[in-house]
Amino acid sequence: MTKRILIVDDSASIRQVVSTTLQGAGYETIEACDGMDGLKKLDGSKINLIISDVNMPKMDGISFVKELKANPAYKFTPVIMLTTESQEDKKAQGKAAGAKAWVVKPFQPQQMLTAVEKLVM
């Protein structure tokens, strides 16, 4: 069965690059443009992995992950933070919120696939 990955990023070009990379590896992708939109896309259906940006309008990535982890249906869904932020304190915030990995942009597609394959449920 094809695994589904939710991509949450306010940059359409980043969503497209991530989507292209994952679809090329056989994954199904769903896109959301910020944290709020990401929460709307969680309709109870099975999501195998989430890739989220940190700095986004309306709802940032850290708040989104906190909300996600509060939802019993997605409590154990692994999350990869994909961001330009490389500050250790931000990484610590991501870890505390429940993220499993921190990938700094710009990313190499192969790097992203390695992280996805390691964490996808």
């Binding site: 990023d9 306010d10 940059s11 359409a12 070009s13 980043i14 497209q16 690059v17 292209t20 090329g24 940190v54 700095n55 961001t83 330009t84 932020e85 490389s86 990484k91 991501g94 870890k95 993220a99 499993k100 990995a101 921190w102 990938v103 700094v104 942009k105 710009p106 990313f107 190499q108 597609p109 790097q111 390695t114 992280a115 390691k118």
Partner: protein, 393 residues
Amino acid sequence: MQQIAQPMPVSSDWKNPWIDPVCRHMILPQFALSTVLLFSGFWWLPASVLGVLSFIITIRLGRQVANVQKQQLEQLSAERSAIEQRFERESRQTLEMYRVSHPIWSRQLRTANEQSEIAVMELSQRFKAIVNRLSDSGSSDFQSDAEVLSKLFASSENEIVTVMKELRQSQNSRRDILSKMDALSDYTGELKRMAQEVVGIAEQTNLLALNAAIESARAGEAGRGFAVVANEVRTLSSRSKDTAARMTDNVNRIHESIASTQAATEQTINTQTELMNRAEQDLEEVLKKLKHLMKEHSESSVLLQNKATETQRDVEDILVNLQFQDRLSQILLQVTGSMQGLSDKLEQPSEQIDVQSWLDDMESSYAMQEQRTNHAGQKSHNSDADDNDITFF
């Protein structure tokens, strides 16, 4: 604002208090009178007059200086007031210009960012299509072409070899038939010899029957019955000879027929062998050429596939580089946000602006190392190559 730094315009009058006409007209007569009285013996008189005059002059001069200083102060006060008014006016104009320009600049930056985003999206979509096409052609067309041709060639070669083997077998079975026909031909020769032996026996029987007829005639009436038998034997002998002659004719005809069939079969086999040898040579030639073509095709396919893979990798690298748009967006968003914050602060003139706190807030809003480096006034790099990593928690 630059005019504030200009030197103050000052009058040259206040520097020269001796310009006062009273003072100027009194000095020379006083000097002349004092000289005359000094040399005429009334030395005390000029001294007294000189003292009185000096006192008057001092008072007069004091008043002059006080007047000049007063004028100077009034002038300075007026100039300061003018400068303050100009400063206030220019500050208000600057603020107004910023207030009016800020939304325009924000819109321009937003438009630039949006246009850049659209362009990057279009570029990445096109590159994605190229990658997909290259991926499809690389994995199927070139490879499958080469594989299909190779398989086709191998199966054709097998089929040709099988057909040739079958033809050779068929040729061998014809040769068997020919050797059996040879044996048949040998049997007909035997039959022919046997027929000739029958003819010989019939002739000898006929001779014996003739002798018996002569002996029976010599015996007279007693040999009459035997003469009948001898006659019958001669008749039988004659019939045997005829039969043997017909048998010989038939055997000869069969032998001739077999011989002609043998000749025709042998000719056919020879022709077939010749044709097969030629066909084999031609096939070998064709297969050799096909093999060569296959090899060339395979090599060019591999070359094309390598080129396609190389291009695919280049395009993937470009897709990675297109991520600059996200970095650009973040920098522009921070700048527009900062401009909005400054605008809001300037809208409240009574509020005291703490510059350091303002700069600290600005610094805390950065997402990338590049922004922090720029803020610190250091030379920034195009990307955070060192930050490019994955951290697993």
